[in-house]
Symmetry: C2
Subunit: 461 residues, 2 copies
Amino acid sequence: MIEYYDISGCYILRPWAMEIWELLKEFFDAEIKKLKLKPYYFPLFVTENVLQKEKDHIEGFAPEVAWVTKSGKSELEAPIAIRPTSETVMYPYFSKWIRSHRDLPLRCNQWCNVVRWEFSNPTPFIRSREFLWQEGHTAFATKEEADKEVLQILELYRRIYEEFLAVPVSKGRKSEMEKFAGGLYTTSVEAFIPNTGRGIQGATSHCLGQNFAKMFDITFENEKGAREMVWQNSWAYTTRSIGVMVMTHGDDKGLVLPPRVAPIQVIVIPVPYKDSDTTAIKGACESTVYTLNESGFRADLDTRENYSPGWKYSHWEMKGVPLRIEIGPRDLANQQVRVVRRDNGAKVDIPVANLVEEVKVLLDEIQANLLKTAKEKRDACIEVIHTWDEFTTALNNKRLILAPWCDEEEVEKDVKARTKGDLGAAKTLCTPFDQPELPEGTLCFASGKPAKKWSFWGRSY
Amino acid sequence: MIEYYDISGCYILRPWAMEIWELLKEFFDAEIKKLKLKPYYFPLFVTENVLQKEKDHIEGFAPEVAWVTKSGKSELEAPIAIRPTSETVMYPYFSKWIRSHRDLPLRCNQWCNVVRWEFSNPTPFIRSREFLWQEGHTAFATKEEADKEVLQILELYRRIYEEFLAVPVSKGRKSEMEKFAGGLYTTSVEAFIPNTGRGIQGATSHCLGQNFAKMFDITFENEKGAREMVWQNSWAYTTRSIGVMVMTHGDDKGLVLPPRVAPIQVIVIPVPYKDSDTTAIKGACESTVYTLNESGFRADLDTRENYSPGWKYSHWEMKGVPLRIEIGPRDLANQQVRVVRRDNGAKVDIPVANLVEEVKVLLDEIQANLLKTAKEKRDACIEVIHTWDEFTTALNNKRLILAPWCDEEEVEKDVKARTKGDLGAAKTLCTPFDQPELPEGTLCFASGKPAKKWSFWGRSY
C-alpha cells in the first residue's frame, strides 16, 4: 500500500491504498454534495500575518508549520507557511463573500494535501508529515444550524468507518483539552486497536462557534438589517482512516480488506494440473471474471505463468482480497468454482449458474462479519472503572477505559502527568454520546469530586 | 470562477471553476484507467540532492523552485523543495520497483498540486504559482510502446480541448528549445487566442527517452536475461485548460460555457407578471428542472425573490450558462417554455411535451457551434508566410504564423532575439503533425537555409 520515502514522515501511496481512498471519496463526496457542499480549492500557502490571527489556533499548530523562505536562489520578503489546515486560509475570504443572510449558509469543501511537520514517531497513514484529506468549512446564521451539521457530518464519518472500513467507532465529544485549537467544541468518531491497546481518533467534526468569525470579521446583515456574527464549523477525515482499517483487520497473513473498499473484491486463479486442459480452464476463468465485472463486482484474473497457484494464493491473501476463486479441472468438469474467504478461510464450491448471487451473498457476509468481529474484540477491551487503582490496572492491561469523570481540565492534566511514561500518557478519548446511567453520588475516578459524565480514557495514537 | 488571494500568483478556485475541473477529471481519469494507468500519490517534497540529479531538468526548473527551510521555529538540516513536477520525486522508486520485464509497463498517474514560483506576470489559470494538474509517468521496455502512448495521451488532450472545452487545438511537436527539460521530445496541443494574438500551450505529452533512466538507474532484465534501460514518458494537463476556454469563448456579457463542462447547463427562471399565478409558475419551473435533472441534464432553478427576472438573466449570462428557460403566464397558458441560447442569443418556444429532446438538441448544437465558431476565428488568424518581412508584419498583426523553417536551434534563438520587445519575443509554438506540402527548394523564413518543415510561430502566453 505504501512505500517509504527518503524524507522522514513522508510516504508514497501506491495504487492499493489510493484505490481505497478513491472509493471512500466517491461515497463521501456524493453525500456532502447532497448537503449542498460546494467544491473549492484554496491555496497551499498562507502568510504569517493571517496564520497568526486566531491565537489559540496558531498556538495549536505553530510548532508543526513548515515555512517556505526561498524561491530559486532568492530569499522571500517574508516567510510563507504551508497550510496545516485551512481555517486561516479561507476565513478572510468568508469575510469578503458573506454580506447578507442571503449569502448563508456558505458551505465549502476541498480535497487536498496538508503538511504538519511533526516530530513524534512518524507512522505510515497514522502520523505522516504530509497527508491527504477533505476539509469542510461552513458558515451559518444560527448556532442551531451549525450544531445540526456537526452531527450530520459525524454520522457520515461513522458510516465511512463502520459501513465501508468495517471499523467500529464511538461517536462522542472531545474534552476541552483535546478539542480543536480555536474551536467551540469538537465531536469525533473514535476507534480502538486491541493489539496495542490504543485509542485512535478517526475523524473530527468541529463547531467553531463565533471565535473565528470575531477574529476574521465574518458578519452578515440579518433580516432586520442588524449585523451579526456567523456560526462556523470545520470537519475533516484523512488517509489515516486507511491505516485504522489496516490495523483493525490485518492478520498473520497480511491485509484483510472489507469488500466495500477492496480495489479487487474477487481474484480468480487458474489451477491447472498436469495434462489438464489449460485452455478450457483459462476460458472458464476469463468468463468468471467477465460475468462478475458485468454484474458490478471488482474482479480480476491472475494468469501469470511464472508463479504457482500456491504462490498466488499467498500473494492475494497478503493483499487482503476478500474472495479467491480457484478453477481447476475438477471444477471445470463439475461446472463449479471453488471459493475461498479471506476473513475466515472457509471454502465452498459454487455452481457456475449461481455465481453472481452467491458471490454477492458471500461479500455481504464478509463485510458484516469483519465489523462484527472487530466490534466484539473492541467491546471485550472496554473496562468500566471507578477508582484510580482500577484505572492504572486497566491502563496497564491495555484496556479501553470507561470512567466517571468530573470534566475538569486540571484533572485531565493531572491524569496525564501521573501516567507519563515510555508508552505515553493516558488522556480522554471522548465522552461518548451513548452514555451509561450515572447514578447520583458517583465520584470522579481521578479527583474524587462528583462525576459529571462517563468518558473514554486510554493511550492513543 | 476565481478569487484573488493575498499571496501574489495564488488564486482561490471557486465552485464554478472546480465543478468544471471535476467534469474534465471524470472524463480523463476514466480514459486513462482504460489504458491501465494506476492512481498514486507521491509526496509534495523532494530533497535537493535528488532534485538535481538530471542536469537539464533542474536547469529548467531551478529558478522557480520554492524551498522549505524551517519547521516551527527550527531550521531544517537541509532545505527541502516543493515539487514543480514529480519526475525526480518518482523515479528513484521506479528504479526500486522495476526489476524484470514482467514489471513493465509501469504506469502511474496522480492528481495533485504543484508549485512554480514564477516571476513573470501572474494570470489566473494561465500562469499561477500553484496549480492543479494530473501528471502521468510511465516506463516501458521499448521505445515503440512509449511513442505509441505519447500519441494516445495527446489524443485525449485534444478531446478535452475540442470535445469538452470546445477549443480548437493543433497537435504537434515542440522544437528542441521548447521541449521539456531533460526529455527526448515533447508533443503538445496548442491553442490560439485571436484577441491577444498569442498562442497557448494546452497540454504536453513528453517522451523522456532514456535520459532519466540513465540518471536514476531504472533498468530491467529482459527476456534473455540481459539488463536494459527503460523508456519513459511523462504528460500533464492543468487548470490552465479552464483559462484557455474562458479566453476562447468569453464575450462582452461574460463567460460562455460549453454544455459538456457547464456546471449548470440549463437555468430556469420564473417570470411572474403582476396578478399572474405565481404558484403555478413556480410549479411549472420546478417540474421543468425536475424533468431535466431526471433525464441527466444539469439544470437548476433561480427562485430568489429579491432579484428581478432581468437581473437574473444578466447574472446567468455572465456566468455562461448555455441555456436559459423563462416561464411566464403566457408560457403556462400555452404549455410551453421560452428557451434562450447563451452562445447566439436565439430564442425559441418549446412545447413542454418536447422539453427533454429539444433541450438535448439545443445543447448539442451549442457545443458544436462553439467549437465551429472558435475554429473559424482561429483559422482566420493563420497566416502562411515565407520571408522575414512577411513574418514581422504578420507578428505585428497578431497572426498565428505558419512558416517554413530550417529547424535549427540557433535560428530560433536568433528569431527570439530579433523580435524581443514589450509584447515578448516570438518563438515556435509547435510543428503541427498536419503538415502542408513543402515544395523542394522552399527556404527558411529566418535563415534562408533549406526549410525542413512547417512550424507555427508567434507570441505566446
